[in-house]
Symmetry: C2
């Protein structure tokens, strides 16, 4: 490389008066601000949600992609359909069949990771001021999309069985009384990010009924559904209501995120809009990525690979749960997830997870404060702990460091009195600490 | 594959009252509607803008990507930075140096093709009702993005030297008098899509001055800049105004589109917003695609490859121009592009390119009617002819068929009197047939 010139501009933003209104809602997430720190090797990061893909057979993947270039390179490197590669869409219907979904490949739209599917669905449905109902807490990346489209998030309470149907009904009724337009319910039924809980089968039926009755579309985001530790995959909500559920899937956790291949399964009229939105956004999703994923699915025992992933993540879940039980001070609560990547932990009364974070990082452990997962300031006593990426030994070390930080906070509290949690706004649920354990 | 079930829904769109206002602007482009027909093998398609990548060395690409998986697979298949792979961003500054741009890799944001860069810039800047000034005609894919964000396009006239500075000044003045907010000028200075013309050096200076004086940001879209047939690349507008120009580049035409790797080079405050917008849209652009492009650039004489592409496209340009000169009836005009993919052709007075299209397809030749490239109904006598994809022999055959169709139209006109062109709306330029020859 030749030398690079000095940066070209000043720190003043001469465009500040020219941005769109939506741009004021684009701010760095709390997770993002953490990345620079948490990626230092001496820090045990329980913050990020990166899958551990070290178990992937690089020789198999390399051969499959090498053959792809040699045999289909001219197609794989060319523009493709805005909807995605037809054969991959067929394979995607095979993947979804594991969750009880019978779907036609014509109704699948491939996206640049399921993140882009959230973006495109929101683009199609949400005007500024429209309401999206989300679980409390909810996925930080989806909250960012809703904010970027100037939609308002109304949270509905969860408990250990997932989204509470009565809380959903109350949220809908409250919005309708206020004359607000609800565009959809955004829900992560399996191994919730960040809450770790799974929506029970009985509640799935009730929530589908409620949404259908109330004219609220369901956006079922399911990146973790095949990563359950014990039982067969749960039946998807989409399986029981094809006309009112948009289902989002992803290969990021069951294969690898670097290809950015996710998808949306949509009712046909919505699918048509999604394809137009995708063409406007990217012309077409990356053809090479799609054909690489397709070749992997064709040439490898991908279900066996998922089984290996499940066993690895279960071992890490066990390491985290046993460490928490051994090491965390009394008054700390957490749940035991049956799959996925995350544990939701609530600190003893009076300890603020966000305020504590700098001290945790000093102690070389990182997490995501609970407030990142709420649109309204709740979650101050909670945090998300990820067990997906570090080894079991590192997880235990991270929990040991975290426990030390929490104990120091409790000692301070005993000496100087309770700190004050952020009050938050009332949104129909009552528990600012959001204890899902 | 197992058998697929029947499609799940009816033709009625039960969501019709629930879409966002922007969604009503999402309609299939005229190009898109053509694809199904034009892709039949018996049709000579002069419609699409697919690069011809058959000259790429599949062995070199295959080896580079095979090594990528073997040596860096765990990184290439993982999540990456929202801004894009750092080493690729350094390589991108090398590419841009060919056009006189001195840039820092920190100011480059990788996008999912430069289409996504247009989308993200528009997302950041445009509220509904804001104005984007575009050349007349302009790239259909960009017009679709502006429509999807409910921005209003105001066209400014071009001639054989590209965008006319006085027309730009008039368009700006007219918008300002009407109290409208102009967010940026969208311009394709090199080998324009669809017009084929190139903005002269003298005009670049003037347009930069006008935009700076008037407080109008410049969005310089440059997918074809390295594909000139005769001379060295023109100096980019960004090279002379780093603070008021956002430059968009792409590997789709100089390497291959299937990886969907483009970029935006932005003033630092805009770059920060672009990264946030990219994270919201996709979390990160595909890491694997980016590292594949990076490996290609590192392992291959990519400039030599571009030279080969240029020679191939020049031969096809020559085939199209000589065929047009030999075969088209009097009264037809076209320009001779110095690079890129496109010729802009204007039919004899009274012949409507859009109305003629079904008869052309029946005669087994396809093109894109000029109206696709205007936001306001102009261009009815014009069409875009692409010489990038068919062989010279097929190009000549396509022009022969097209000339026959035009002659038949002229005979009909002689027998029955002139057809009436669509009148269009006045937007500050005077020529509904847009003859750029």
């Amino acid at each position: 490389m030749e030398s690079t010139p000095a940066r070209t501009s000043t720190r003043l933003d001469s465009f500040v008066d020219r941005y769109a209104a939506r741009t004021s809602g684009m701010t760095a997430s709390e997770i993002r601000a953490l990345f620079a720190v948490a990626s230092r090797p001496e820090v045990v990061s329980l913050a990020g949600g990166m899958p551990n893909i070290s178990g992937l057979p690089l020789d198999v993947v390399g051969d499959a992609i090498g053959n792809l270039v040699a045999e289909h390179g001219a197609v794989a490197m060319q523009y493709g359909s805005g909807q995605g590669v037809p054969f991959l869409r067929e394979q995607i219907t095979d993947v979804m069949r594991l969750e009880g979904i019978e779907a036609h490949p014509d109704d699948v739209v491939v996206t640049v990771g399921s993140q882009q599917a959230v973006d495109l669905v929101t683009r199609i449905f949400c005007d500024p001021g429209d309401v999206v109902i989300c679980e409390a807490p909810s996925y930080v990346g989806a909250l960012g999309v809703f904010r970027a489209y100037q939609a308002d998030v109304v949270h509905a309470e969860m408990d250990a069985q997932g989204l509470v149907p009565e809380a959903l009904e109350q949220a809908i009724a409250s919005c309708k009384r206020a004359g607000r337009k609800i565009k959809f319910l955004y829900t992560i039924p399996n191994f919730h990010n960040p809450a770790g809980v799974t929506l029970s089968a009985e509640r799935r039926t009730r929530i589908i009924e409620i949404c259908r009755r109330e004219g609220v579309l369901v956006l079922e985001d399911n990146p973790y559904g095949l990563l359950g530790f014990d039982e067969a995959p749960m039946r998807a909500m989409r399986a029981d209501d094809p006309d009112n559920v948009i289902y989002l899937g992803s290969f990021s956790k069951t294969f690898a995120p670097g290809f950015r291949v996710g998808w949306a399964l949509c009712p046909p009229p919505v699918r048509e809009k999604m394809v137009l939105a995708q063409e406007s956004a990217t012309l077409c999703p990356p053809q090479f990525s799609q054909m690489a994923v397709s070749a992997y699915l064709s040439n490898h025992d991908w279900q066996g690979q998922i089984k290996q992933f499940r066993e690895m993540y279960r071992e890490r879940r066990d390491a985290m749960i046993s460490s928490l039980a051994d090491l965390m001070p009394a008054g700390t609560h957490w749940n035991v997830p049956d799959g996925g990547f995350y544990v939701w932990l609530t600190l003893p009364d009076g300890v603020d997870a966000k305020a504590m974070l700098p001290r945790a990082v000093t102690a070389r452990v990182a997490y995501v404060p609970g407030t990142a997962f709420f649109a309204d300031g709740f979650g101050s006593r909670s945090m998300r702990l990820s067990f997906c990426y570090p080894t079991p030994e590192r997880i235990r070390e991270g929990v040991r460091r975290l426990a030390g930080v929490v104990e120091a906070e409790l000692e301070l509290r005993t000496m100087f009195g309770a700190t004050i949690s952020a009050p938050g706004l009332s949104t129909g649920y009552d528990n600012p600490s959001v204890d899902l354990s």
